[in-house]
């Protein structure tokens, strides 16, 4: 009788032990990173761009270049964000990159990633977000520009100026697109203007 009792107890104790292991190992707090071996390796001494940084006044590692400086290999665009700057860019600025198939293909990809959410794959101003209430932009081929003239007549300089500074509901894409990328997109937009 006693042996029987013991067996049950031993079995019970083992089961409890297993249950405890299962609970401790499965009970994992999703809000916590858990333990880190050598945490210095995780909390880096070398700063990542997204990391905070006490060495700068605003606490960011990713600093904006000082005003008036030009990075090496950067093409400047010295037309102000005004109506006059827009008109002047239209007269003077021409696409600086080679009109090649590969540039065109890259322009298409960049257009699809950065522009089509609003402007639509075919540039008709019917992108996905406009179906959810975002004010739709005019069509490249059929619309009217808010700054006068038809959208299909927009010049290199005008499109580049708009990508750089934004207009109306569109923001500036200068921080997201390098000058060469903007020019590739201009190439592709010219094609959409003919649709």
């Amino acid at each position: 009788m006693l042996a029987m009792m013991n067996k049950i107890r031993i079995f019970g104790a083992t089961m409890i032990a297993f249950a405890a292991v299962a609970v401790t190992s499965s009970c994992h707090d999703k809000r916590s990173t858990g333990w880190e071996y050598a945490p210095n390796m995780y909390e880096k001494i070398a700063y990542d761009p997204d990391q905070k940084n006490p060495n700068f006044k605003d606490g960011k590692t990713a600093q904006v270049p000082p005003a008036g400086t030009t990075p090496i290999g950067f093409t400047r665009f010295d037309y102000p964000n005004t109506r006059a700057g827009y008109d002047q860019a239209s007269l003077e600025v021409k696409n600086i990159i080679a009109q090649t198939q590969s540039n065109f293909a890259e322009g298409k990809l960049l257009y699809e990633h950065y522009c089509s959410p609003c402007h639509g794959e075919q540039g008709q101003g019917d992108g996905e977000v406009t179906k959810h209430g975002y004010p739709p932009p005019p069509s490249y081929s059929k619309g009217q520009s808010s700054r006068g003239g038809a959208m299909k007549d927009l010049t290199d300089g005008k499109i580049y100026h708009t990508i750089t500074y934004g207009v109306n509901a569109m923001g500036s894409y200068a921080s997201q697109l390098a000058p060469e990328e903007r020019w590739k997109i201009v190439m592709y937009v010219h094609k959409l203007q003919t649709l």
């Binding site: 990173t33 996905e128 977000v129 975002y134 923001g171």
Partner: protein, 420 residues
């Protein structure tokens, strides 16, 4: 008493019915113009204007209600740029107030079309202003009126009942305490003493059982050992980590529903080691215009020092948002996003999981060395038409032909080969 209330009910019903009918007839009278105006308004104006707040252009509700000169308004809407060119003082004032942005020319709209739009805007604005005050006397209001008062009465009754229960509970509590104070507590202490002795005895009896002690110790060792194993195995593995972010940004909405490509915000993944968290100006590309009233979007405005009313930034008030990093490789491992996205052509979801369905992002992959190595062993490289491998393939061709190959040809002169 009952008679009076019945009479009153009938009287109020007939009054409401008459009011509803007159409202309906008025609406029917203005409907033709307003409906046409609404269609035109939604096709032509909503890209830049909202009725109740400033968007790209001014809020149309108040400005078109206060501006009573319909002839001037028509001219402005049809061809504002002609008015500006003619140096019309009113037009110049608006033009300069909105940073000389200018408005799209709508020469295709006839005077009648413009009149329809103006009617729609003014009437819709009137309706919008009246809404919070309870609206006009229509049938719907008559129906919902009594029911809402009923609900309030019910809530009131529940609150009163709750208060009564609380008070009674309190009273019972004090009474019980009074009773307890009068009782003699000595006999109870004796009882607890006996229990302690009893427990101790069972424990001693169990200790004498060697087999039981052995198995308890064994179970303990097994339990501790497995816990240790699991814990050490998971140390530094942050799979499933899902911290609370300062702004409740949903990838499910932006990447899933809106189908915005990952590159739109994380362009760095194509160009650099870091995939980059977008700076707030990227949020503002859209949220200058949409969801301006959402408290989560207001956090962006606060962080930027942006005033949605004037659409001006005050950089002295700007504070960076401190997002919580989820995917964090220790410094002992180097990972480059562009190498995987641009050269290998991997989809983001390959490592980050179904990000387009995540309301709140968590770490999908373990990011352990085993996980990296497994993929590096299984994945074939695509060398053809891939600029990254051009040099390597060239060197291989030379080796095949038995030509001389130097370390420099294999990138041996790259700075970081020595100076890292």
């Amino acid at each position: 008493m009952r008679n009076i209330s019945l009479l009153f009910k009938q009287f109020s019903r007939s009054v409401l019915l008459i009011a509803g009918l007159t409202a309906l007839s008025f609406a029917a009278h203005a409907q033709g113009d307003k409906a046409k105006g609404e269609a035109l308004y939604k096709a032509k104006c909503t890209a830049c204007h909202k009725l109740d707040q400033r968007s790209t252009g001014p809020a149309l509700g108040p400005i078109m209600t206060s501006e009573t000169d319909d002839k001037w308004l028509t001219k402005w809407i049809q061809n504002n740029q002609a008015l500006i060119a003619a140096k019309d003082p009113k037009a110049l004032k608006v033009y300069n107030e909105y940073n000389q942005a200018g408005m799209t020319v709508f020469t295709e709209l006839s005077d009648g079309d413009v009149a329809n739009i103006i009617t729609y805007v003014r009437e819709e604005w009137k309706v919008m202003q009246e809404k919070p005050k309870g609206g006009a006397a229509t049938g719907e209001v008559a129906d919902s009126g009594p029911s809402s008062s009923m609900v309030f009465a019910l809530i009131g009754i529940i609150i009163v009942a709750f208060i009564v229960i609380l008070v009674l509970n309190r009273a019972i509590g004090t009474l019980e305490r009074l009773l307890l104070n009068r009782k003699d507590l000595l006999p109870e202490e004796e009882v607890t003493d006996a229990v302690v002795i009893d427990r101790f005895a069972t424990f001693r009896r169990l200790l004498k059982n060697k087999k039981l002690v052995f198995f308890v110790v064994l179970a303990g060792v097994v339990a501790f050992g497995s816990w240790n194993w699991v814990t050490m195995w998971n140390t530094g593995v942050q799979q499933g980590y899902q911290p609370v972010q300062p702004i409740a940004y949903s990838h499910e909405l932006h990447a899933g529903v809106m189908k915005i490509n990952c590159q739109y915000c994380h362009g760095g993944a194509y160009k650099s080691k870091n995939a980059t968290i977008p700076s707030l100006n990227v949020c503002m590309n859209c949220h200058k215009v949409v969801k301006t009233e959402s408290p989560e979007i207001q956090k962006i405005y606060t962080a930027l020092g942006y005033d949605p009313g004037t659409q001006k930034y005050d950089t002295t008030k700007a504070r960076p948002i401190q997002w919580v990093r989820i995917h964090n490789l220790p410094d002992l491992a180097y990972f480059n996003h562009s190498q995987h996205v641009k050269v290998a052509g991997l989809e983001c979801q390959n490592c980050h999981g179904p990000i387009q369905t995540m309301k709140e992002v968590y770490q999908y992959s373990p990011l352990t060395m085993k996980w990296c190595i497994q993929c590096h062993k299984r994945t074939n490289i695509n060398g053809l038409g891939n600029a990254y491998y051009d040099n390597m393939l060239e060197v291989h061709e030379k080796l095949k032909k038995g030509e001389k190959v130097t370390a420099a040809m294999m990138g041996g002169l790259e700075c970081a080969k020595c100076h890292y």
